[in-house]
């Protein structure tokens, strides 16, 4: 008899280091969703996502925008009466979603994240102007203009980096990353 792994187990496997009680102990009280500052923008509330995971509804979960709206403020986690680490769950779902390249259309989060990671691999430090290209073209005209205005003002006030920063031991750094995941996926 082959035991197929459930969706819930797949998600738990992506929560390697995080502490907290198992998802199946959720009593669906709704504290997390009541606390979440962005719950109103999510198609499924955090509580509903946990219910869906426990029911094995993988497709519905991956089509949801819930975890991409999570700002990881951890308010849900400190209030959960069952001590489930909900924020880490949201991180795990993001990882799962990017790993399987399955996410709701029109979300900026996934492409932005990939661009961010590539940027770090390139220089070891953050450089905002490069990041902008990953999301700014998804904005509508008004948002685009506002963002450009903001960036210009930052530049004039000397708050925007012009040249990318680089760490000294960049080659070692890259090899270090290579020991965790193959660089082919990042470059």
């Amino acid at each position: 008899m082959t035991d197929t792994i459930t969706f819930g187990q797949e998600v738990s496997n992506l929560l390697h280091a995080a502490e907290g009680e198992p998802l199946k102990t959720c009593i669906q009280c709704g504290t997390c969703s009541g606390t979440c500052p962005v719950a109103g923008y999510m198609d499924n509330s955090p509580r509903q996502i946990i219910a869906l995971i426990n029911l094995g509804k993988k497709d519905q979960v991956l089509e949801s925008n819930t975890f991409w709206y999570c700002a990881s403020c951890y308010y849900c986690t400190v209030r959960c009466p069952q001590e489930i680490n909900i924020t880490e769950l949201m991180y795990a779902l993001k990882r799962y979603s990017i790993w399987k390249s399955r996410y709701k259309e029109g979300l900026i989060g996934p492409t932005f994240s990939e661009a961010f990671v590539k940027m770090i691999v390139r220089g070891g430090r953050s450089f905002e102007p490069i990041l902008a290209t990953s999301y700014i073209f998804s904005f509508n005209t008004r948002e685009f203009v506002q963002e450009i205005q903001g960036a210009t003002e930052l530049l004039l006030k000397g708050r925007l980096p012009v040249l990318p920063a680089r760490i000294k031991r960049l080659e070692n750094f890259r090899r270090m990353i290579g020991r965790i995941i193959p660089m082919g996926g990042l470059e």
Binding site: H16, W68, F116, G150, A165
Partner: protein, 293 residues
């Protein structure tokens, strides 16, 4: 003389350079030495955790391993950097398997992390290591009449580390009182600014920023004090965008707590990086009007 290994974080170079300048000036005057970590790399912010957990811990572990060599505890001024590194230490100490994987990667840079580093947020240094009494002693220009909204944000206090108060901490208020300012009752002081959502989910983040600004205005604060570059940028740089989006007319200065401490210690505006804000702080408190939708 207290000494720490200082992890500035990517944004303190340019975006939040005033935070860096005011941090260095104030700690110098208060007898704390901050030694910048050699060749530190980005902590990964929240984004690395979206891609790979192990990789995210490795990025932080590299910085921690560099710090471990100095034998000093790490201080991070940015809440996200602080949270990432604090929990990297905690998890690597508990999970030998994880530590093994991470150290395997660190070998490429001739580094090894044994877990012997404590990580503090810069505000903890002011609130605990220096302490309100010492601050009060050194203050020469108390910020009398200045009504400050103490904006903790999320990742300094959460996730909970020991059994500390995550709903109503008071250390920020105590610090503000010590420098002569009046901390206002700011009900949303623990609420999230949206963080990177300002890019990936703009409307949601702008709503969160709007609520924070409105609450500060309702509490009749003349300035919001922050302890994280992300929070400062969201609340200040995007203030105009909030106004355009919702038709409000907020004009609330958002300063770093180190800048306020610096002013109370008599340090000049220039040295504290004051002058780079989008919303300038008035020299004297102005009356504030409530705005309604």
């Amino acid at each position: 003389m207290k000494e720490f290994a200082y992890f500035p974080g990517c944004s303190l170079e340019k975006m939040a350079s005033s935070y860096h300048m005011s941090a260095m000036e104030t700690t110098k005057q208060l007898g704390v030495k901050l030694n910048e970590l050699d060749d530190w790399n980005c902590c990964g912010a929240t984004t690395y955790f979206y891609i790979d957990e192990l990789l995210a811990y490795t990025l932080c572990a590299r910085n921690l391993a560099i710090a471990e060599k100095t034998g000093l505890d790490v201080v991070a001024p940015c809440s996200a950097c602080y949270k990432n590194m604090f929990f990297t230490v905690a998890h690597l100490k508990k999970d030998a398997d994880l530590a093994e994987h991470v150290n395997f990667a660190l070998e490429e840079d001739n580094l090894h992390f044994s877990g012997n580093v404590n990580v503090k947020h810069l505000i903890e240094v002011f609130a605990q290591d220096i302490g309100p009494d010492e601050l009060k002693r050194k203050v020469t220009k108390p910020l009398e009449g200045m009504r400050v909204a103490p904006y903790y944000g999320c990742q300094i206090v959460r996730p909970q580390k020991e059994k500390e108060d995550v709903e109503q901490p008071q250390f920020f208020e105590e610090m503000l009182t010590a420098i002569g300012a009046t901390p206002v009752n700011y009900p949303l002081k623990m609420r999230c600014c949206g963080g990177s959502l300002i890019i990936s989910s703009r409307t949601a983040a702008l709503t969160m920023v709007r609520n924070l600004l409105q609450s500060a205005v309702d509490a009749q604060a003349t300035v919001i004090a922050t302890a994280c570059p992300m929070c400062q940028v969201n609340l200040e740089v995007y203030q105009q965008q909030v106004n355009l989006e919702f038709g409000t007319n907020f004009s609330v200065p958002v300063m770093y707590f180190t800048q306020l401490v610096g002013l109370a210690l008599g340090i000049s505006n220039k040295k504290l990086g004051i002058g780079k804000e989008f919303v300038a702080m008035a020299p004297t408190p102005l009356p504030v009007q409530k705005t309604w939708d």
